[in-house]
């Protein structure tokens, strides 16, 4: 389950906070975030996967994309 969760993690802005939110507490919130959170995470994961496949298919265009990323 943890592996799945970690895979589902996607990137967002890096908010500052002086307290240390434990990794467990953040992961639990993601879980409790339920379907809404899950769908968003899946979509982002899907984008990454398709991006990866496209890179493998494309030739010169992929270099272009990598520079943009």
């Amino acid at each position: 389950m943890l592996v799945v969760l970690l895979l589902l993690l996607s990137l967002s802005g890096n908010a500052h906070a002086y307290i240390d939110p434990s990794a467990g507490s953040v992961l639990l919130q993601l879980l409790l975030g339920g379907i809404a959170g899950l769908l968003v995470a899946l979509r982002l994961y899907w984008n990454r996967l398709t991006g990866f496949l496209r890179r493998r298919q494309g030739s010169a265009a992929s270099d272009e994309r990598d520079r943009i990323r």
Partner: protein, 466 residues
């Protein structure tokens, strides 16, 4: 101006040393920008207008310290209190207030950057969110970073009392970071608790995730830190927590909560006592702060409330404090009466970093008048405090004091002595009188019954230091 040694946890907002009617907070340039954003959204004004958050304004007359951009001032509450002095309902209301503030913030694009129970104080019997610098703009996609702290500071202690019947106060006093969900609460909840609201998710699953992520490599930790959660999901979590809190009720047993019905007084005696307390209150000069030590039902604290702006009604029994809190909450004396769990045998100490973060009870405000009604026999006969030690406490607490002396022949004293070998032969009203006179004056004395007398004492503070 220097910083309060206790105020360091949030480097962007530090409280300055001052003893006036204002609390002064220095804000970093970042905190100023965040405050301006929260103000511009109308959120801060709404929260203040609804009585959820303390009012604060720029203090133009105070120069910000080096590295800081502004100073904001808010009013100093009459008597700061700590979560380990609150009853179950007080901690729950403080938790609900925190969620209220957070929910309104999220709806307006802001959030709370932490969820410390110490961000809430009680203004009389009303919780008030005082850490105005906790409100910051919310970056969409960020989970609530205060969730873990909210669980440790609020949810875990409330669950401990609701599901195990164990009063949380000693635990919170022992750990200023709250009760750890994984390390402390989870082991106390067994299989049969799994179906209780919130246990499976907020406790067991959380404990599992905490265990599994303990050895997470730094890079993976950074990934977790950047985890994304839509705002709607954060809001749903907050509302879920609110529903959960609404279902928690204390199961702790109380010694005193039924005391008023079972005690040995009759109404005529209570009326006499009320009149004596009212007369004592009329002699106090200022009328700012009074304490009722051993307040029980709060009957006499309410009498003080007619004369004093703030009356701290203390009792060692969380059940009695909880009952008083529920009675006072929403009642006309809500602004005056502050119920508090305090064991006079072991009052709150100075603790935290370098012993400065949390102050002793006495350091937070000196009362002009203190009541000790039907308390002395519990301390001296029940707990073995010498009479002169009791009078030293009375002398150092307040200039004016009302003491109800309960003789050893009284049925309540006899009950305390029934199981004891030591009979405390020096416990006697004549000894009490002479010890009081050695420390000051007995202004009035009134006999309530053959075994009970009321004293109004004016004792001098001990200048010898002995």
């Amino acid at each position: 101006m220097t910083f309060l040694p206790a105020s360091f946890r949030d480097p962007d907002a530090r409280v300055l040393e001052s003893d006036g009617p204002r609390i002064l907070r220095a804000l970093s340039p970042r905190a100023v920008a965040e405050r301006e954003a929260v103000e511009a959204s109308g959120l801060l004004g709404e929260l203040v207008a609804n009585g959820l958050v303390v009012d604060s304004t720029r203090a133009a007359d105070v120069a910000p310290p080096a590295g800081f951009a502004a100073v904001v001032a808010s009013r100093r509450l009459a008597f700061p209190t700590y979560p380990y002095e609150w009853s179950f309902g007080m901690l729950r209301d403080a938790a609900l207030l925190t969620l209220d503030v957070l929910e309104r913030a999220l709806e307006r694009g802001a959030t709370l950057k932490d969820a410390s129970a110490y961000n809430v104080l009680f203004d009389g019997a009303r919780p008030l969110f005082v850490d105005v610098a906790s409100l910051v703009p919310h970056e969409d996609g960020t989970p609530w970073l205060g969730y873990g702290q909210f669980c440790d500071h609020f949810l875990a202690p409330l669950m401990l009392e609701a599901y195990r019947g164990i009063p949380f106060q000693p635990f919170l006093r022992g750990s200023l970071e709250g009760l750890s969900i994984g390390g402390q609460l989870s082991p106390l909840l067994g299989w049969r608790d799994w179906l209780r609201p919130g246990v499976l998710t907020h406790v067991k699953l959380r404990a599992l995730l905490d265990r599994r992520t303990r050895d997470l490599p730094t890079e993976a930790r950074r990934d977790v830190r950047r985890a994304s959660l839509p705002r709607a999901a954060v809001l749903a979590n907050v509302r879920g927590l609110r529903r959960l809190l609404g279902r928690l009720a204390s199961r702790a047993a109380s010694v005193w909560a039924g005391y008023a019905e079972a005690n040995t007084y009759d109404d005529a005696l209570s009326a006499k006592k009320e009149a004596f307390v009212a007369a004592a209150a009329a002699r106090a000069a200022g009328g700012a702060l009074a304490w009722d030590i051993g307040a029980n039902t709060g009957r006499y604290a309410r009498v003080l409330g007619r004369r004093f702006a703030t009356v701290v009604a203390m009792d060692a029994d969380p059940g009695a404090v909880e009952r008083l809190y529920r009675e006072v909450r929403g009642a006309p004396d809500e602004r005056t009466l502050l119920p508090l769990v305090v064991d006079v045998m072991n009052p709150s100490p100075a603790q935290g970093w370098r012993g400065t973060e949390r102050a002793t009870l006495g350091a937070r405000g000196r009362p002009e008048l203190a009541l000790y009604l039907a308390l002395v026999h519990h301390l001296c006969l029940g707990r073995g405090v010498p009479l002169d030690g009791f009078l030293d406490l009375v002398r150092e607490t307040a200039p004016l004091s009302v003491v109800e002396f309960v003789a050893r022949e009284d049925p309540m004293s006899q009950r305390l002595l029934a199981t004891k070998l030591e009979q405390h032969a020096d416990y006697d009203v004549d000894v009490f009188r002479s010890l009081a006179r050695a420390r000051g004056e007995i202004l009035t004395e009134e006999r309530l019954s053959p075994t009970r007398s009321l004293f109004l004492l004016h004792l001098r503070p001990d200048r010898t230091g002995a």
